[in-house]
């Protein structure tokens, strides 16, 4: 176990200390920070000219209206009509509203463009409320008369928002998941295949195999790569969680979370579930395949070609999911959701769409785990032969030559 750990740790540290890993892990956060930064700067720079000023002969009325439209929509430094005129002339505000309180409430909007219909409706409603209150006070009505006057018509609408949202959440979850699986698979298949292929036929492998068994070395390598993948996933989970918390505290994201908070929660729920296990196990089985194909290259110089089999198979599985994103109950999807190498794409598709029972999920996971164990057992047995032989023949010839070392 100690030697296995030495190989695992060495593989892990070599990868995580590389610049390519640091860039790979940090790039989504850098992109997120950049896009937030750009959004923040553009929002701030546009803020002044998108604001209006509100002036009134009654400060209470002014404050009440500012509260209705939102503090960030009003330039509150402008309090008089003269100041508002100047600000509009300088294009520091897009317009100003003069509210006159008296027997009759009156509002006049001065601006470069007409007031938006939504704003107009909101303003009219605000003024109606004030005018009604004033009218009631002046008419000296009894409670009964007042309550009769306040009777309003009833309008109801029932929108199946939950179902619609769930559908969007499924679609978003599906795309995020398959892209995550595909990106992680292709990245680490390539890293693993090249790592193994670069050692192919080198004499340092003879020194290593005179120190530990090829099976232990192979498992150590795979575990090392898996620790790297786990590190990346943990960084993404923690980073995503921290970004979510940070976004909740940003005023610019308030409206987004108000409108789409439930969608975001559903997508997160779909991702941080058993699907993550399928993703992780999928990465393991593709990593093992990549290691195997890395060991099959003719020589270390061919390392760049080593990842092709794993990457192409991963691409085939990835593109095969496309026609079924709205048809997760199709027979082919059911079959492929049990086939190792494909199940990491197809079972999550069924899970997201709620068409897989716990027994089916468990069976698919079991098959995937058994396939991984069988592959590790088989490749461990022939690994020494595959790595030590340096024949120039074709792939099949090299494979057979590797087997002859058994």
């Amino acid at each position: 176990m100690k030697k296995l750990w030495v190989v695992t740790l060495s593989t892990y540290l070599r990868q995580v200390k590389s610049w390519s890993f640091v860039i790979l892990v940090l790039s989504p956060f850098i992109m997120l920070a950049v896009s937030f930064g750009v959004g923040f700067v553009s929002a701030n720079s546009a803020a002044d000219s998108d604001q209006i000023a509100v002036v009134s002969n009654q400060s209470a009325v002014r404050q009440a209206y500012i509260k209705v439209v939102g503090h960030d929509q009003v330039d509150q430094r402008v309090k008089t009509e003269t100041a508002a005129k100047k600000a509009l002339k300088k294009e520091a505000i897009k317009g100003y509203l003069v509210l006159s309180a008296g027997q009759r409430y009156q509002a006049t909007y001065h601006g470069t463009e007409a007031m938006a219909s939504f704003d107009k409706t909101r303003l009219t409603s605000f003024l109606n409320k004030l005018q009604t209150q004033a009218n009631v006070v002046r008419a000296k009505l009894s409670h009964r008369q007042l309550s009769q006057l306040q009777q309003q018509p009833i309008f109801k609408q029932v929108v199946q928002k939950k179902d619609g949202l769930a559908k969007i959440a499924k679609l978003a979850s599906f795309w995020i998941l398959v892209f995550m699986v595909y990106m992680i698979l292709t990245t680490y298949s390539s890293i693993t295949a090249q790592e193994i292929a670069s050692e192919k036929g080198t004499k340092v492998m003879e020194i290593i195999f005179s120190s530990t068994t090829a099976g232990k070395y192979f498992c150590g390598k795979i575990l090392g790569v898996l620790m790297v993948i786990a590190t990346q996933l943990v960084v993404y989970l923690l980073g995503g969680w921290a970004s979510l918390i940070a976004a909740h505290h940003m005023s610019m994201a308030d409206s987004f979370f108000r409108d789409y908070g439930s969608l975001v929660n559903q997508v997160i729920g779909n991702l941080v579930s058993v699907n993550l296990l399928f993703l992780f196990l999928g990465v393991i089985i593709y990593t093992i395949l990549a290691a195997f194909s890395g060991a099959l290259v003719a020589k270390a110089e061919d390392a760049s070609k080593a990842s092709y089999p794993a990457v192409y198979l991963s691409m085939a599985a990835f593109f095969a999911t496309f026609p079924f994103q709205n048809n997760a109950d199709a027979l082919l999807v059911k079959i492929l959701s049990y086939v190792p190498f494909f199940s990491s794409y197809f079972m999550p598709l069924r899970i997201i769409n709620g068409v897989a029972s716990p027994v089916e999920i468990g069976f698919s996971l079991g098959l995937l785990i058994v396939a991984i164990l069988l592959l590790v057992w088989y490749i461990s047995g022939i690994y020494k032969g595959l790595i030590l032989q340096a024949d120039e023949g074709n792939l099949w010839h090299r494979f057979r030559r590797g087997l002859s070392y058994r």
Partner: protein
């Protein structure tokens, strides 16, 4: 003791080794010689369990399995290390795979680097070292865990004379520490200087085996070094002389087909008078190698 009995290996039609038998005791050095393709590396690969073979190979009475790996120090024919690692990382990695603790190895690295006169710091990357220094680092990796079975495949190839001396010293030290050492070499001088016994392979067959002195004697004293005013043509006429080689001015090497002819040749050359040089010796290891390898051509 390393005991090899009836070792045979074939790759398809090719018989790489055929019934090879020898032992290497602890504190003994065995030279394994033979032309390219004779089966030297296949013998080493069999000892190290890289390949499956027929016959038995035991170390201290046990088959060589992972349990024995920590006692083995192996230097492959071509030098190869991990270029992106530092000297310290490389030595630590390979020593830890030999079951050594990192702390112990860290405390010894400076001493080993000084002993092998490695030029550079232990934080230098392997790829930044000269070829000679990389070879020294690889030797340190082979020996730092004090193995009791040392297998060196062409350890002297590519070394300058100073480094050859360093390596010879290291091998001798390991022998004194009680290690069983087996190495292959094309340089018979190294083999003759270091080895207690040798095995010569030809096309997988063991054609010579034994102590070096005994092997040389078994070829008889068939060489006569002589300094004489006689010409090469005149010397060729002497009885039992089959070949005359001029070594320098008036100095010749006569090869005879019957070692007992030496007395008669001496008498014919000296006529009872003073003769500056007359020395009858067995053939050198290099000559034996050429003779045996010659049969291969």
């Amino acid at each position: 003791m390393l005991a090899i009995e009836h070792l045979s290996k074939h790759f398809g039609e090719l018989q790489a080794l055929n019934d090879v038998n020898f032992n290497v005791e602890k504190g003994e050095i065995m030279g394994l010689i033979g032309q390219n393709g004779a089966g030297k590396s296949t013998t080493f690969h069999s000892i190290l369990s890289f390949i499956h073979y027929d016959g038995t190979i035991n170390w201290d009475g046990q088959p060589i399995t992972e349990a024995v790996f920590n006692q083995i120090g192996y230097l492959p024919e071509e030098r190869s290390l991990m270029p992106k690692m530092t000297i310290e990382q490389q030595i630590l990695y390979l020593a830890q795979l030999k079951g050594q603790s990192a702390r112990k190895i860290r405390s010894e690295i400076d001493d080993w680097m000084a002993r092998f006169e490695v030029k550079g710091k232990k934080n230098d990357k392997i790829k930044s070292l000269s070829k000679g220094n990389q070879q020294k680092v690889q030797l340190i990796c082979t020996l730092i865990h004090h193995p009791s079975l040392i297998i060196l495949d062409e350890p002297f190839s590519g070394l300058d004379p100073v480094n050859v001396d360093l390596l010879e010293q290291a091998i001798s030290n390991a022998k004194r520490e009680g290690a069983a050492i087996i190495f292959s070499s094309h340089d018979m001088g190294n083999v003759e200087a270091l080895c207690d016994q040798l095995v010569m392979l030809r096309k997988g067959d063991m054609v010579l085996h034994g102590e070096i002195r005994a092997i040389r004697d078994q070829f008889g004293k068939s060489e006569i070094f002589v300094t004489t005013p006689w010409s090469a043509v005149e010397l060729q006429q002497l009885p039992h002389v089959i070949k005359v080689t001029s070594l320098s001015n008036q100095r010749y090497l006569l090869r005879v087909d019957d070692p007992t002819a030496g007395r008669e040749i001496f008498q014919r050359l000296s006529h009872g008078e003073y003769i500056e040089e007359f020395s009858q010796q067995p053939p050198t290891l290099d000559e034996i190698f050429r003779m045996k390898a010659g049969n291969d051509q």
